[in-house]
């Protein structure tokens, strides 16, 4: 690998300061970034590891009942510690990658990268989560801005993610077995004021809300409510694992399965 400097600050303030250096890049659990560096698809001159920041780790409950997850919390911890409060979210975390990846990869890293096939963006958008950074709070609806694009500014660090807990929720992932990413993944969450449906793995524009399904499911929370709907294949991802039509079809199938599993 090419040579770079690496810092391991122990506070958010020190991390933010280190990230002000030109060409500095935050390093979460590294499960995407380190392979990316090996291929030299990214070549920052300095890395700022966030794994030593205790105040960015852990799962807690806010006064309003929301589940708060520190940005440097790994997937295995979310799978364990969020299970009692938000099983739909914990179930998603428990199926990301493989066990060794779940012990390193972090929620903040996943959301900052916004891979179009990653699982966590579906949970954050499907839950209407709030992404909290060192500088501000960003609503999930404003945060995701396309494939690998987010509202984060250079040097901004996701310190916490706050999930309002729904009445029911489920994530259904059609696994691409080699990468363990979602070929298509759908997160369905039923809140008192309506249903949210977030789809990952399908669109060239990254995670998106399927608003027709949300309206239908808000009126009738059953897989049958989706019967008359179709998902347009325009702008769906085409690769050797699936055509746009195939992915569009999977979106509806996986949404139905998620509703059935949640109900």
């Amino acid at each position: 690998m090419y040579a770079f400097d690496i810092e391991r600050p122990s506070t958010i303030a020190d991390a933010v300061k280190a990230l002000k250096e030109e060409d500095a890049q935050a390093l979460g659990g590294g499960q995407t970034l380190i392979p990316t560096l090996k291929q030299r698809l990214a070549m920052p001159s300095a890395l700022v590891s966030l794994t030593g920041i205790g105040e960015m780790k852990g799962v807690c409950l806010a006064d309003d009942g929301a589940v708060c997850i520190g940005g440097a919390t790994n997937h295995a911890t979310v799978a364990k510690e969020a299970a009692a409060h938000y099983p739909g979210l914990a179930g998603l975390a428990a199926n990301i990658g493989d066990p060794a990846v779940r012990n390193r990869g972090t929620i903040g890293g996943s959301l900052a990268n916004n891979d179009p096939s990653a699982c966590y963006p579906a949970a954050a958008l499907g839950s209407g989560a709030t992404i909290i950074t060192n500088a501000r709070e960003i609503a999930a609806d404003d945060y995701f801005q396309g494939m690998f694009e987010t509202a984060l500014e250079d040097g901004e660090v996701i310190t916490e993610v706050r999930f309002p807990v729904p009445e029911k929720a489920h994530y259904q992932k059609f696994v691409q077995p080699a990468s363990r990413f979602a070929l298509v993944g759908v997160f369905v969450a039923k809140y008192a004021d309506g249903v949210r449906v977030a789809v990952t793995g399908a669109s060239e524009n990254g995670v998106f809300r399927w608003s027709e399904a949300e309206a239908a499911l808000s009126a009738d929370f059953s897989a049958a409510a989706l019967d008359g709907l179709t998902v347009p294949a325009d702008e769906m991802i085409a690769d050797l694992h699936g055509s746009p039509d195939y992915r569009a079809h999977l979106v509806k199938v996986m949404t139905g399965r998620a509703v059935t599993a949640a109900a």
Partner: protein, 161 residues
């Protein structure tokens, strides 16, 4: 260069590493603990699985500086104190859970992490836990069998396909 100090298989070790030094390279090149294998170096194969603070991780996908201060366990520390194979290793031998053996260090380390978390896993749970460990010889059946046996469960009903 940065100084790192960590505990590896119960012994305190120190070294000077570059920022880019992977944990797998530190173990293999600096500490000469070559039991941690590097199969793919792209986080796919799991041959380099070690335990850092008790958790299974891929040593090729973390930097050595990130393990500063950590308690690390590798395959070299798995045998019993008298040098005999531990329960998992012995089960791999008894049930022919390896052929070429390249993936075995990672398999044993993943199995140890699984059994610590879930002492009597189902066959399905074993197979799911090994999703990040690739073996190109065995077809997995005997690996699964070995891990089930190491957990003290009766494996006579598991087909040797």
């Amino acid at each position: 260069m940065a100084s790192v100090t960590m505990t590896v298989n119960g012994k305190s070790v120190s070294g000077e590493v570059e920022g880019r030094t992977l944990m797998s390279d530190f173990l293999r090149n600096d500490l000469r603990l070559t039991g941690t294998h590097v199969g793919c170096d792209t986080s796919q194969c799991g041959a380099c699985v070690i335990h850092v603070n008790g958790e299974a991780v891929k040593a090729c996908t973390m930097f050595a500086v990130e393990a500063d201060g950590a308690d690390v366990a590798t395959i070299e520390g798995q045998a019993n104190a008298d040098g005999s194979l531990n329960v998992i290793q012995q089960a791999f031998q008894d049930h022919h859970g390896l052929q070429c053996g390249f993936c075995t260090p990672g398999m044993v380390m993943s199995a140890a992490a699984l059994l610590k978390e879930n002492p009597t896993p189902t066959e399905r749970e074993v197979r799911e836990y090994l999703e990040g460990n690739i073996c190109r010889c065995t077809g997995y059946h005997n690996i699964v069998k070995a891990i089930m046996a190491a957990s003290g469960q009766d494996v006579s009903a598991i087909a040797a396909e």
